[in-house]
């Protein structure tokens, strides 16, 4: 039997000490029964234990929320009653050919069934052993798969969506009864058979709208126990870091037209001399010197070959790793020093220019070392607005700051998730990352700064959405409506149709209340979540 260790009166905090510590009545640490050799049996045993915990929460009239690596930079994973640490439930299970749905176009070798707590690094390793790879991932590898899809984690693969967009099936636990294990997938793109669902003791719902709503669920659709991911053959990435002039960089940001850009990487051009389309394009920008060259990190997809030099020593991870926290102290004391400090630290926080590296996706986006209190904010905008939005946010930073952070831009395709924040046909994610600081008479606070960003983007008429797992002024009036139009209503309808009122409340937390997503729509028609016809 899977077992759970209870930690009463636990002060929970997230990886970057962002807010908190948050008092918690009970932290529950669930561990699988490793004596069960058959992975599906072990999976089902874990499901049974989760359901026991849910029943116990109901009996004690307490809320319940699953969480992963605590990497979100806000309180989205927190609620004060019971939190389930699920990272030890991390099975990686191959999909048998006979479990692929008869109407599916998927090759079973390109599908993998992951238990909620599998972390991205573990998934990279497991897939590599099978000659496979994720299609994309974030800038580092410590998130759990359930945590990553729940907030919409993205990288900068320009023609690929975010992590959740590789998911083709979701195994949810929405209550303590036998009927509360559900396996959901799209009717338009079925993946696995009813036999597979039966093997994990779940009822099947094939419904596109429900699936899309549950994909980025913010922890509100119950416990995600497992996900079926579509993967691909392993590939290599050739990574270049170069200076790029702001004009060329922003032209590329607005169009992603690499073919006609004057910016080219020698060796990455077609026979006619035009630029090849990269897999990944990212820009690093010092907001205090916007006329300086930007730094670009650009990667091209290559076929996998076995013998290439170990790239890890060359890989520099994200900003989180590098901005030393004494900057926060200096910033609060002497705000005029911030631009100087940021400029001085350029070599620390930007990847080193003119380095070329070859490696797998898992190697490119390798481990990060915890470095204490940091903040991160991310605005998704249409690429067409990227130059304008950069100017707006740079102005906010300069007018109301300075603040101890740097800007970056990443690019991804639109997410299919109802509340995927990367919601524009081609999305630019404009990020400001830095060290946490405390506002005082000298310097604007992070909270005030985040409000100014929203106000400025709204005033400029730029549609945007914000990363669910990062810092934002989440209490800003009407924010979610502004960002999502009717999509938030669709999400609430689906949630209300799938969950009972009691369970919807059990899976609610302050974050969902703050962003006005917790309200339950009594009488939401069950037809909303009925299985749809599979198109022939």
């Amino acid at each position: 039997m899977a077992t759970t260790k209870n930690h009463p009166r636990f002060d929970w905090t997230n990886f970057h000490f962002n807010g908190g510590p948050y008092p918690l009545k009970l932290m529950q640490d669930i561990a699988p029964d490793k004596s069960i050799a058959n992975p599906i049996d072990r999976y089902n045993d874990g499901a049974q234990e989760i359901q026991r915990l849910l029943q116990d929460s109901i009996d004690n009239n307490q809320r319940f929320r699953a969480y992963g690596s605590s990497w979100s930079l806000n309180n989205i994973a927190y609620q004060p009653d019971r939190m389930l640490y699920n990272s030890r439930l991390n099975l990686v299970i191959d999909v048998a050919a006979e479990h692929v749905h008869a109407a599916s176009t998927h090759n079973h070798q390109n599908l993998i069934f992951l238990e909620c707590g599998a972390v991205v690094k573990q998934i990279h390793n497991a897939l590599r052993q099978r000659g496979k790879s994720l299609k994309t991932c974030g800038a580092s590898n410590g998130q759990t798969i359930a945590g990553a899809i729940s907030t919409g984690v993205h990288g900068s693969a320009i023609d690929v969506g975010s992590i959740q967009d590789g998911v083709v099936g979701l195994s949810l636990i929405i209550g303590p009864s036998a009927n509360d294990r559900v396996y959901i997938e799209r009717a338009s793109v079925p993946a696995l058979s009813d036999g597979f669902a039966a093997s994990i003791q779940s009822r099947v719902i094939r419904n596109d709208d429900l699936f899309n709503a549950a994909l980025v669920s913010l922890g509100g659709f119950g416990v995600i126990h497992g996900v079926v991911m579509e993967v691909e053959d392993i590939f290599l990435l050739k990574r270049y870091v170069r200076n790029i002039n702001p004009h060329d960089a922003l032209e590329l940001a607005k169009t992603l037209n690499f073919k006609d850009s004057p910016f080219k990487i020698p060796g990455e051009t077609a026979a006619d001399g035009s630029g090849e389309r990269p897999y990944h394009y990212k820009l690093y920008i010092n907001p205090y010197r916007p006329n300086d060259d930007f730094v670009t990190e650009i990667m091209f997809k290559k076929p996998y070959v076995a013998n290439y030099p170990n790239p890890i020593p060359e890989i520099q991870s994200s900003i989180y790793k590098d901005l030393p926290s004494f900057i926060a102290w200096l910033a609060a004391k002497f705000k005029r020093s911030i631009p100087l400090l940021v400029a001085g630290l350029k070599s620390e926080v930007f990847p080193p220019v003119d380095t070329d590296v070859l490696g797998t996706l898992g190697e490119m986006f390798w481990d990060t070392s915890p470095q204490g209190a940091a903040f991160g904010s991310a605005f998704a905008i249409d690429i067409a607005d990227s130059e304008k939005a950069l100017a707006v946010l740079t102005k906010v930073i300069r007018d109301f700051g300075p603040i101890p952070g740097i800007l970056s831009m990443r690019f991804v395709s639109q997410s299919t998730a109802t509340l995927g924040f990367t919601r524009f046909p081609h999305t630019c994610v404009l990020e400001v990352d830095g060290v946490l600081w405390t506002g005082n008479r000298n310097i604007i606070s992070l909270e005030e700064y985040l409000i100014k960003c929203i106000e400025a983007l709204k005033a400029a008429g730029i549609p945007f959405a914000q990363h669910w797992g990062k810092n934002a002024a989440w209490g800003f009036p009407g924010l979610v409506d502004y960002m999502y139009g009717n999509a938030d209503d669709q999400w609430k309808n689906m949630r209300s149709a799938l969950l009972t009122k009691q369970m919807a409340d059990l899976f609610t937390n302050d974050f969902l209340n703050t962003v006005s997503l917790s309200d339950f729509r009594v009488g939401a028609p069950v037809e909303l979540i009925a299985t749809s016809e599979i198109p022939v």
Binding site: W12, P21, Y85, R88, K121
Partner: protein
């Protein structure tokens, strides 16, 4: 006045020196750390860390020491050896050499 200033300076230097240390960390490239959700320490967040403060006696004909630590049937995810300036000083005059070792096993 001058002597107070120089004493303060000396004290400052001493504090810096005593705090100064070196550490070497070795991390396994493809390993995963053993988990501990109760560890919310900045540097090792979420990982199960074992710390060893050790004093090793080294003789004339013995120039190394072994620490044998259990990691179940797995290996190490990370090992850190740290020697502070204070330890360095003490080690110069003592037979027993001291250092701090921290390790995280593989999951």
């Amino acid at each position: 006045m001058k002597s107070i200033a120089s004493r303060l300076l000396l004290a400052g230097i001493l504090v810096v020196l005593l705090a100064a240390c070196y550490s070497v960390k070795i991390r396994c490239r493809d390993c995963l750390p053993e988990k501990d959700p109760t560890n919310q320490d900045q540097a090792t967040f979420g990982h199960m860390v074992v710390s060893v403060d050790t004093a090793t006696k080294l003789g004339l004909f013995k120039d190394n020491a072994w620490l044998v630590k259990p990691c179940g049937d797995k290996g190490f995810y990370m090992v850190e050896m740290r020697v502070t300036f204070g330890m360095l000083m003490a080690n110069t005059f003592r037979k027993k050499k001291i250092m701090k070792v921290k390790y995280i096993c593989e999951e």
